[in-house]
Amino acid sequence: MEQQNEMECIRRILEGETEPFSYFLQRYSRPIHSMIVRIVPCREDAEELTQDTFIKAFKKLDTYKGDCSFSTWLYRIAYNTAVSATRKRRMWFPVLDEKKIENVPDEAVDAFLNNEEDEVLLQKLEQAIELLNMEERALITLYYTDEKSIIEVASILQLTSENVKVKLYRVRKKIYALVKNEKR
């Protein structure tokens, strides 16, 4: 039903009406803004990037072929807009030794990421998330906060499903390694 509504709005916008676009704004402006706020290091830019996302979507609406849901298509534009803005600013993210990440035992990561009682650990976890790069933040935000499926995340980040799984597995280990690294 929602998809039918969205397709009807898209058809009307492509015929020259602008009013149906307010439906997309009401529905997606806040989730898109929340995602951008969580992945862009500079919070002040998030509103501008949200606006850019919707203007781009309006301009490129004729390129939406309906091969994925409209929300996935919109999230993809938002992610690409955020990535371009970050690239222009040449952000710096710490690089961890790959061996260090690989050597982290799975059981330790599972226990650590499910320990929601320890407030100190939660604080450290938050600090570790701040050190992740854009793609890694987008990955965990879409998967854990927006509760998108692996297929949707793959479509938004333009990766394969297998790649998303591998990256998620690696990010979990990286977060653990960052917290342990900071402890020492």
């Binding site: 704004l25 402006s29 309006f58 976890l125």
Partner: protein
């Protein structure tokens, strides 16, 4: 993997940020301005295209006429000869053409009527 309750808790507690109350109305105004620009761009593009095609056709006609006049500069003495048997068909042809025009006119009239009734 998607259990990771601690990670979920931290991500959900992180700053969500909020949009100003007039964000949607401001953005709608920008979208409307963008739509006007889009229409203008498309009108200019159409005008350019029509001008180009017209100019090409005019140039083609001029070149064609020039070539035709150079090659066949002498016209036959009487290019329109009416034979008595073909002249009798002209009446029939005019009758058909008149009928077609009447039908096209009626078609247009009824289409307009239908559009008006749909609009009201």
């Amino acid at each position: 993997m998607n259990q990771d309750t601690a990670l979920k808790k931290v991500l959900q507690s992180r700053e969500k940020g909020d949009l100003p109350y007039d964000f949607e109305s401001r953005l709608m105004r920008t979208i409307q301005a963008e739509a006007v620009k889009k229409k203008m761009r498309s009108a200019v593009l159409n005008l350019c295209l029509v001008s180009m095609v017209s100019l090409t056709m005019i140039a083609g006609t001029i070149l064609g006429l020039k070539y035709y006049l150079l090659v066949h500069f002498s016209l036959p003495e009487n290019p329109f000869k009416f034979l008595s048997d073909s002249a009798s068909l002209f009446g029939f042809f005019f009758y058909i053409a008149f009928l077609v025009l009447i039908l096209l006119g009626l078609d247009m009239y009824f289409r307009k009527l239908k559009q008006k009734s749909e609009a009201s």
